[in-house]
């Protein structure tokens, strides 16, 4: 066996030993952070948006989450969405999973941190929702000068 192959075996064994040790530790830590998403109850459809060749019904919590995401360049930590929508982490995760099932967001999940990112369809929907909300909140006045 050459010196090079012995050195490589040594490196490989160190990599495996460290990887196993860290995976064991991370899995142990993850047990303390298991949060199962529960969709918020009493949700009513408030918005209907046509995007990506289909009609999408959205509840006010879903709209709130999309607005938060569209105003933070399309990505946000789940905790920030929970704060903005007034939900706890369990319900916020449930909401994010609902949006994921609708194809509007992607979720990157680690035990301690969760990131929610808008998909291209989600960006389109968020933009339309933003316009609808702005129109409702600030309707154009009659006889307004342009």
């Amino acid at each position: 066996m050459s010196f090079e192959s012995i050195a490589e075996l040594y490196e490989l064994s160190r990599a495996i030993a460290r990887a196993f040790e860290v995976v064991k530790l991370l899995k142990k830590r993850a047990e303390k952070h298991i949060v199962e998403g529960v969709p918020p109850k009493r949700q009513y459809v408030r918005f209907r948006v046509a995007a990506g060749g289909k009609v999408i019904d959205l509840t006010e919590k879903q709209v709130a989450a999309l607005l938060v995401l569209s105003r933070t360049e399309g990505a946000e930590v789940l905790n920030a969405i929970a704060r903005s929508t007034g939900l706890n982490s369990k319900l916020a995760l449930g909401l994010a999973l609902q949006l994921k099932a609708m194809g509007l967001v992607n979720l990157i999940i680690t035990p301690q941190r969760k990131i929610v990112m808008l998909t291209p369809l989600g960006q389109e929907v968020a933009k339309k929702v933003e316009e609808m909300v702005t129109e409702t909140a600030f309707p154009p006045e009659e006889g307004e000068l342009i």
Partner: protein, 99 residues
């Protein structure tokens, strides 16, 4: 260690190989920078390590405010599988040792 992935040769040190393996082995397939620190030993080394792996195309970075999360790219998955194959071939990958 030398790795050949898609007919291209890469040279990784053992900590870089360990990060690829950890990402392949954890059920959630993503790591924060502080998770990488556990492999690297310290913050600066962890930053260097992920930067190099991202540059090689093995990791993708998701950045939100100060939080950075790393996941394997498809190339990274193949590289991690290659490390595992090498380990199995050398008899270093024992099922009993798996966490």
């Amino acid at each position: 260690m030398k790795l050949t992935v898609d007919d291209k040769m890469y040279e990784l040190d053992w900590k870089e190989a360990a990060v690829l393996l950890v990402l392949r082995l954890v059920d959630w397939h993503a790591l924060t920078l502080s998770d990488v620190e556990l492999v690297a030993g310290n913050y600066n080394r962890a930053v260097q390590l992920v930067e190099r792996l991202v540059k090689m195309g093995f990791l993708k970075e998701f950045k939100v405010r100060k939080l950075r999360i790393y996941a394997l790219t498809e190339l990274g998955e193949r590289a991690a599988d290659e490390v595992r194959r090498k380990a199995e071939e050398a008899g270093l990958w024992k099922a009993g040792l798996l966490p």
